[in-house]
C-alpha cells in the first residue's frame, strides 16, 4: 500500500463553456435580439433547444451567452429584481436603468464572475431602439449592434461592414443610411446565423429572434413574416415584443 498519496488532483473548475452565439441590432424605433438554441459542452450537444434570449419587460429583452448555469441564474435574478421594481414603483424599469442594474449585478461578482456575455436590447424612454452590451464583469456600452459568444468573431466583422458600413464608400453625393429598415435587419440576422452555423460547430439547431417595436410604429412589415408570434406581456403595453423562430442546420 502506498503512503499518503501525492496531491495530484486538479482543483475543481466551477466554469464550463456552453457554446452558442447571440446578436442584437438597434434600429431607429425597434431592436432585434437573437440567439441560437444549441447548448453544447466540448464536442457533445447537450440539447438542441435551450433558449438564450429572454423577454424581461415589454421594452427589454436580454440575451445571455457563455456558461449556461451562470446565465440561467443571472436571468432569473434580473427578472426577480425587475419584479421587485414593479412592486415598488408600479411601472416597468426603463431600459437604461436595467442596463445599469445589470452592470452592478455583474460587478458585484467581480472576483467570482458570472462567466456570461450579456446583450440587452429594447426601446429607450425616448422611443429609440437600443442595444447595450456587457462583458462578464459589468463593463458596458450602448451600441447599434453587437455579436457575442462562440461565433462572435465570425459575425461581428460582418455586422461592422453591413450595419456600420465599415470599408464601404458611399456613391458620391449620397451617404450611408444611419438606420436600416426592419426587414433588412432581420435578413442580416438570419444570414449571420446560417453562415455561423456553416462555419462554427457550436452554432446551430434553432434560431430565436426577438423583435421589440416602439409604440406608434407601423406593424405592417412584421405581419408579412411567416410564423411571427407576439409575446407582449401586458395588454396595455405600448411597446410590443414579437418572436420569430427558425430552424438552423443540426449537424
Amino acid at each position: 500500500m502506498s503512503p499518503i498519496s501525492q496531491p495530484t488532483s486538479v482543483a475543481f473548475n466551477p466554469y464550463a463553456e456552453n457554446g452558442g452565439t447571440i446578436l442584437a441590432i438597434a434600429g431607429l424605433d425597434f431592436a432585434v435580439v437573437a440567439g441560437d438554441t444549441r447548448q453544447s459542452e466540448g464536442y457533445s450537444i447537450q440539447t438542441r433547444y435551450a433558449p438564450k434570449v429572454f423577454r424581461l419587460t415589454d421594452k427589454a429583452t436580454l440575451a445571455v451567452n457563455g456558461f449556461a448555469a451562470d446565465g440561467n441564474i443571472f436571468v432569473k435574478t434580473v427578472k426577480q429584481r425587475l419584479e421587485w421594481y414593479r412592486h415598488a414603483h408600479a411601472k416597468d424599469m426603463p431600459l437604461r436603468a436595467i442596463a445599469r442594474l445589470i452592470q452592478t449585478m455583474l460587478y458585484a461578482k467581480r472576483f467570482f464572475p458570472y462567466y456570461v456575455y450579456n446583450i440587452l436590447g429594447g426601446i429607450e424612454e425616448d422611443g429609440s431602439g437600443a442595444v447595450y452590451s456587457f462583458d462578464p464583469v459589468g463593463s458596458y456600452e450602448r451600441e447599434a449592434c453587437r455579436a457575442a459568444g462562440a461565433a462572435s468573431s465570425l459575425i461581428q466583422p460582418f455586422l461592422d461592414n453591413q450595419i456600420y458600413f465599415k470599408n464601404q464608400v458611399a456613391v458620391s453625393g449620397t451617404s450611408h443610411p444611419k438606420h436600416l429598415p426592419i426587414l433588412d435587419v432581420l435578413s442580416l440576422v438570419t444570414d449571420s446565423f446560417t453562415s455561423a452555423t456553416e462555419r462554427h460547430i457550436e452554432v446551430g439547431d434553432g434560431l430565436e429572434i426577438y423583435v421589440i417595436v416602439a409604440s406608434g410604429r407601423s406593424l405592417t412589415e412584421l405581419s408579412s413574416i411567416a410564423g411571427i408570434e407576439e409575446v407582449t406581456g401586458s395588454a396595455s403595453a405600448t411597446d410590443r415584443v414579437f418572436v420569430i423562430r427558425r430552424e438552423l442546420k443540426k449537424d
Binding site: S9, F12, Q46, Y49, A69
Partner: protein, 254 residues
Amino acid sequence: MDHFPGTHWGKPRNDNIDAYGTYPLHAHQPRTDAFADGVQRTQQPVVTGASVLALKYKDGIMMAADNLASYGSLARFKDIQRASGDMADFQQLKHILDTLLIEQFVQDDGHKFGPTEIYEYLSRLMYGRRSKMDPLWNSLLVGGFKDGKSFLGYVDLLGTTYSAPTLRNWVWRYIAQPLLRKSVEGREDTLTEEEAVKILEGCMKVLFYRDARSLNKYQIAAVTEKGIWISDSRSVETEWAFAEGIRGYGAQTQ
C-alpha cells in the same frame, strides 16, 4: 463609529474586520473551526456509480441504469431519479431530498412537489454547492409525469441544466446518445412502451459490449400517468463468439 447600534445585541464591534462599520457585524463574523485544516471538499469522485439513460415516449418517461448505479431508489415519490457520480454525495443528496419531502408531507397543505419543483430545487442546490466550490459530484436526470405532461431534465455538478427528448450522463455521451437520438428524436409522441424498452435494451447491449465499466445487469424504470414502475434486474443476451476470430488488435500470439 457604529452605524448599526442595536442590531448586534450588545456584542462588541471589531474594527479589524470592518473598520468603517458598514454592516451589522454579528451577521458576518468569519467562522473559525478548530478542525478547519481537516475539512475536505469533494474534489474528485471516490466511489462512483455508473450511468443513466433516459428517453421520452408516448406515455411518459423511461429510464435505464445498470445495477452499479441502481443504488437505492426514490420510488416512493411522484418522480424518480437515478444519479451517477460520487456515491457518498448521491446519498447526501437523497438525504436532503428526503428531508425536504418529509417536511412537505408533514405540512399537508395540499401543495405537493411535482417533477418540475424537484428539478428546480435540485438545480439550485447543485448550483449553490458549485458556487461554494464544494460541489456534489453527480449528474442527475430527473424524470416525472404530472397533470398529463411528462418531464425530463438534467443537472450536473456545475449546476448546468437542460432538457431534451433523450438524456444520458457523461460517460455515455458518444456511445448511447447517438443511438438514442436516432431512434427517439421526432418520435417522442408516438413511441410505444414496447419500442422504448427495445431501444433502451439495444443501448444497454452496446454499452455492455463497449464500456469496460458497465455491467450486464440493469433495471428499467418508467414514469407514466399510472405512476412509477421499476423492473427487476435483468440482462441482455450477448454473443462473444466473434471475438475468437479477431486478429491484429490484441496481445495474440498468432
